[in-house]
Symmetry: C4
Subunit: 269 residues, 4 copies
């Protein structure tokens, strides 16, 4: 298969490709099978850890600088199998392989993925979710701030996307390219963006990072809400600590194997 081999112009920096564990350690570019397996695993992990429910999705870019990404057809994350994974381009259109188009139903909000990959070459994986703990921080003016080391990336800033500014009264869904572009603009160079009255989008330089950030962003929200409810000044991680934490090349590696096993056990649910 040649799909996914198209490469965007390089922008003068190295990618942390690192999608699967093996690849992460070897530095090799992962095989297509391995990438598809990662899409399936990421879906199952996010469902098992209750970051997504029947809705939400996760994608992986096909390679450093590539203008394609892998994502399931429109399906609940817990139900995704390798056969459900499709390849879309940056316009979020399904890729024609050997003259045959893929007619399966795609996620209505696929533009979240395509438009972010277009402007963030460092991003190799994207999660979209509606985790309940995140919603309050999108509908109040209280910013998410980093409560502990595992969610230190929150300290880089988590902006809030107000879809009304881009699209007026909508059905809240990012179902048009221009809404995806507006979302990507609000995201900027940050690790995640909350969506007012909707959910969040989390990005990573690997699927491990995107998934782990999703897990710990949600946990940060719960802990921060609890700490704030206690009615005293809260001490968040400071800038220096956030910076030091960001220098760890692989802060979440150990989690992936565990979550994969948990998802496999719970996968038959």
């Amino acid at each position: 298969m040649l799909a996914g081999m198209y490469v965007l112009p390089r922008r003068g920096f190295l990618f942390a490709a690192a999608t699967t564990l093996v690849t992460r350690l070897s530095g090799q570019q992962p095989s297509r099978e391995s990438l598809i397996d990662d899409v399936v695993t990421a879906n199952h992990i996010l469902a098992a850890l209750e970051i997504v429910d029947a809705f939400g999705h996760v994608s992986i870019r096909t390679g450093p600088g590539a203008g394609r990404y892998l994502i399931s057809r429109s399906l609940a994350p817990a139900q995704v199998t390798a056969a459900d994974v499709m390849e879309l381009d940056l316009d979020s259109k399904s890729v024609v392989v050997a003259g045959v188009g893929d007619k399966r139903a795609v996620y209505r909000e696929r533009f979240i993925h395509g438009e972010i990959y277009r402007v963030r070459p460092d991003v190799m994986s994207i999660v979209h979710c509606h985790a309940p703990a995140l919603i309050p921080f999108g509908i109040t003016k209280i910013p998410l701030r980093p409560v502990y080391h595992n969610s230190s990336f929150v300290g880089e800033g988590i902006p809030v996307f107000e879809i009304r500014e881009a699209g007026g009264d909508t059905d809240m869904l990012v179902e048009k390219p221009e809404l995806g572009r507006a979302l990507a603009k609000t995201l900027g160079n940050k690790p995640a963006v909350l969506m007012r009255g909707h959910g969040a989008v989390i990005v990573g330089k690997s699927v491990i990072e995107a998934v782990a950030r999703s897990v710990y962003l949600e946990e940060n929200a719960r802990v921060q809400a609890q700490a704030m409810a206690m009615g005293q000044r809260v001490t968040y991680l400071d800038e220096g600590e956030v910076k030091k934490r960001s220098e760890d090349p692989d802060p979440y590696g150990r989690a992936w194997d565990l979550w994969k096993r948990q998802a496999a056990t719970q996968g038959s649910r």
Copy 2:
């Protein structure tokens, strides 16, 4: 079986019959077996997602405009099987088939179903539950308001039924036709009604909608309580957004299959 074939006068509008997924897609009127299967599945889903515990029930109207509905005999939702499903008329009396009456114990609060179906021809399915997260909104004067897209229907208004106004001091149960009528009156044309000191009733134009609204009504309550506890102004979905959302003919379709699978796995509990 001819039961359930009696048809109320049509009222000049089309029904969204759509009870099972197959039917939903084909537009065909579902078979009786398929409707009974949906009653069983809906019971198991609501139990698996902890919207109901040992108590609560769910019914399905036998067809568009029909004056009959299917509901389990008095039983905990997780335990319902096809053999437990009974057919009641709008007076919530069991239907006599081939001269034989159904003597099994019925839910004491079956009038919730009969009286709502009587005045809401658009309603094809009804859920009654006591989900803990909903109770606080029935015993304070704080209205439920829509925190995110999946619960946008909350923006249509969720009234609160005060049983004392209809029946004085009672044992809180809607166990008489007149209490059912009073409840139906408070519900009006809304998607759900809270019951002070008791629980909630949620309706839908299909069983998928009634179940999904139950799930997301409960989630809305949890998220709204959390957002309010954070002590700042909360931005709810506005009227235009609620309206746009209401135009989606099938916002929850993807969830049904997943929940059905989850319920099957957890069904042996």
Copy 3:
């Protein structure tokens, strides 16, 4: 076995013996095997529903007016089997059968059971637990009040036992007869008593009632705390409603079978 056949003087009223479902429906006095089975089931239900953890216990009086009760040897509730059930008298001493005493380790707090059975002939079953949601109501001056129909018995009043008044500085355990008597005195004729800095004791005229009240007392605590946190006046069930509810002879019957099944599935944990 003759144990448990000793009968206290009758006090001029009928007992609701009703321990097992079969017995409940037939009105027959349950067999000893059936009572032991109920002790085991009640232990497993309370563990499965997380009312007890490694600690806590449940007992059943051997019959109306009897001066004996059945309770597990000192063991975590989830691990109790029929072989672990012992018979104690109202002094909470193990009963000598055929000249042989039962030397197995008993719960240090068994006096909770003996001393309550002594002064509450209507009580046929007792639960002791440390459910986290109940603790805050024992360590503040906020009384538990009934938020919904399933916990209407809360409206009869849930007193708080301050062990310091009876025993000064203790290790908090009701491990002496006099502490059990003081606890029973605080309980009075109520359905349950909170223990400051410790937990709760819940009683019932049947094991079903004692277990169901434990479940819904805990749920009431969670819902009430949430309702109070919302910062507005809360409308609790009023006296008339509480009274009407108390006239239902079997409000929780449907739950027992479900919980038993849930406990069986989770019993292997």
Copy 4:
């Protein structure tokens, strides 16, 4: 194997060696196999009870006064097997056995263990975790206080470690001996120490005590936060009660067997 037989100078008091239940009852020094089994079991219990997630660790000193401890190689607690257990000395370096060093990856924060064992000869087991309920008490000035008997040890005082005082801006990890020493100093003679923006360390005179204290420290945090949120004065256990409770030689024994069984059932996750 001779490893672990090196014995620190005795300091004039007896140890409560008691690592496994058998040993606890017999008073015998446990075998190495039994200690390794305890390390594995403790890891699985902490994961099953959600005190640790993919991160966190637990160690056991090899014997009273020993300058060695057993701990897993760097791995998620739920995944630890006997083959993963390593032996480290008080400098947290792996022990050379028969001339062969153990080259497996060790936890970066192993110094937590070595430096505490060095200055606390009474400590036989140490848990490090990031339980979300504990974080708010480390990032506000609200001290943990004992809400009930099972967490009475909280009344001995739970200090908070501010890593900035010892190391300035760090990545929050105790990954150097001097940070471990600073942490041990803050811990002092207390049962646990919170780590600002990170988690907690809990110690015990046996692995049962360290694990049970971890479980009930977390529960205390949840209950205390709830009680405080109710806006009234909270009555905590007083000094006399804390002292009386501390005289119980084996307050948590019954829990270990249950948790071990729970962990075994959930271990395949």
